[in-house]
Amino acid sequence: MSAHDVAVPAAVEGDGARPSGRTYGVLLAVLVGVILVAPYFLYPVFLMKVLCFALFASALNLLLGYGGLLSFGHAAFFGFASYISAHAAKVWGLPPELAILSGTAAATVLGAVFGALAIRRQGIYFAMITLALAQLIYFVSLQSEFTGGEDGIQSVPRGVLFGVLPLTDDRTLYYVVATIFLAGFLLIFRIIHSPFGQVLRAIRDNEPRAISLGYRTVQYKLATFVISAGIAGLAGATKALVFQLASLTDVHWSMSGEVVLMTLVGGMGTIFGPAVGAIVVVSMQNYLATLGAWVPIVQGIVFVVCVLLFREGIIGVLSRWTKRPL
């Protein structure tokens, strides 16, 4: 070992390994600023769609990027929650806050069940089991009566928030959705930078070692799975009220694929990446809609380019350039 004392400790002291609080503070302020002014420049419904998917992708990223587990069935939580939320608002006549809450709760419970079944598997097996379970939900959604089958649940009332704030106006609803997004986003941020998040990173880094230190790693992974499913549900439940519709699209496996795509394009394992990925993918779908059947092809090309040129995703590359975790 002649190369032994090459690493001069003083030179590396205080490098960018620790996330600097200030970077995050500034970026969060920018994010909030952009969210506040965006509806004056862009169509609010489009923005709400972006926010819902940004939250959905961030939830998946918590599991994929920080837990190291690729779920290929997250559409089940997103879509199932949107059905429950739509049903609660339309049939049970619940106010929007309770409708969203019931959708989120349903997704969390579903996450606990799926998680318990899948969590002991790893890699491709884990992905396959989550996919299979999600297909089960798709089948149930297609066949059962309360989801409306092919029609979905249509003209869901947006209702009156807390009994005082009618959500019929798009811009009003936008700020409610933005608040939900920020709450979910900050929750994920906090989880990642918590003692729990620290253990999660350790497990992703070297699971056998974490076990040998006495960590019951399955419990940590399961907890992450359930939280991720719950937040994905929150996003889906909110989306149902925005579009006043819950449909099969949201439980379809291609939705699971899309959210993985968003996460990868934006940067897996980065805080802001999935949101950026959601902006890119949703914008493409919206602004290239005139291309019709070509949209998936363009999307595919973008994905291939991403994988070939910047594997760490947009934010991942920026993070490497600026030498800070973003």
Binding site: M1, S2, A3, H4, D5, V6, A7, P9, A10, V12, E13, G14, D15, A17, R18, R190, I191, H193, S194, P195, F196, G197, Q198, V199, R201, A202, D205, N206, P208, R209, A210, I211, S212, L213, G214, Y215, R216, T217, Y220, A223, I227
Partner: protein
């Protein structure tokens, strides 16, 4: 006169498709000793080691820790009882700094690892203790270096510091000196001797001169069975041991 065995195995056996990698092994590791497990390549040392740390499940036989049957326990539970293992390939959390590596172990012992609603800043309360542990293994100056960037010998030292953070009563070291240069070997051997105070150590090791100088007791494995056991003088003069090693070399 035998001291009390802290870790013992009775008829420990594991079979892979008819091949007995470990075959009816009885071990008695006495409290407070450094016990070495040696043997030629393929003797079943690492397999035996993985059985003891529960990373493999034995086909038959029992493992006793302080008289308690721990055969059915999971790896994480063994660690919680105070038996902590190292790995042949150095096991550090490469993304973490040296300090964070040790902290993650301290955090487990204190049990606030499920707190997902608190800021990770609360972990700074372990910093002082973590620094002391790093200092004990000669890594004081490397606290904020990413573990993945540490030179090999330092990584192994960090692993020891992380393990010590759990204050285990027993350490299982899987080839702690593997792949090290002279300088590191001496440092590591001194470290092992240092941490053995008030602890029991079982190690699998190839470096016989270190084994000779460090171990109180040696078990020689060959073809999955115990060939000889005793002090270095006893086993090194055992003809079967010499035969096993020489035979191994010619094969």
């Amino acid at each position: 006169m035998r001291a009390e065995a802290i870790l013992a195995t009775r008829d420990l056996t594991i079979e892979f498709k008819g091949f007995k990698a470990v075959d009816g092994v009885n071990l008695n590791i006495e409290q407070g000793t450094i016990h070495a497990l040696i043997g030629p390549n393929g003797a079943g040392k690492t397999t035996c080691f993985n059985l003891l740390t529960k990373f493999l499940t034995p086909t038959k036989g029992t493992i006793l820790y302080k008289g308690r049957d721990i055969t059915a326990l999971k790896p994480a539970e063994i660690a919680r009882l105070g038996i902590v293992r190292s790995f042949q390939i150095s096991a550090v959390f490469a993304q973490f700094t040296a300090l964070e590596n040790v902290r993650v172990a301290l955090q487990r012992r204190r049990g606030d690892s499920f707190d997902f609603w608190r800021s990770e800043r609360v972990l700074t309360r372990y910093d002082r203790e973590a620094r002391e542990l790093l200092e004990a293994v000669g890594l004081a100056d490397y606290a904020s270096v990413r573990a993945g960037e540490l030179p090999y010998g330092r990584k192994r030292a960090l692993e020891v510091a992380t393990t010590l953070a759990l204050d285990p009563s027993m350490l299982l070291l899987d080839e702690p000196l593997a792949g090290m240069g002279h300088e590191d070997v001496d440092r590591m051997a001194a470290l092992i001797r240092h941490v053995s105070t008030n602890r029991t150590i079982l190690m699998v090791e190839h470096n016989l001169s270190v084994v000779a100088s460090l171990s109180d007791r040696i078990t020689v494995l060959a073809r999955g069975k115990v060939l000889a056991e005793g002090s270095y003088a006893t086993v090194s003069s055992d003809e079967r041991v010499v035969e096993a090693y020489m035979g191994g070399m010619h094969a």
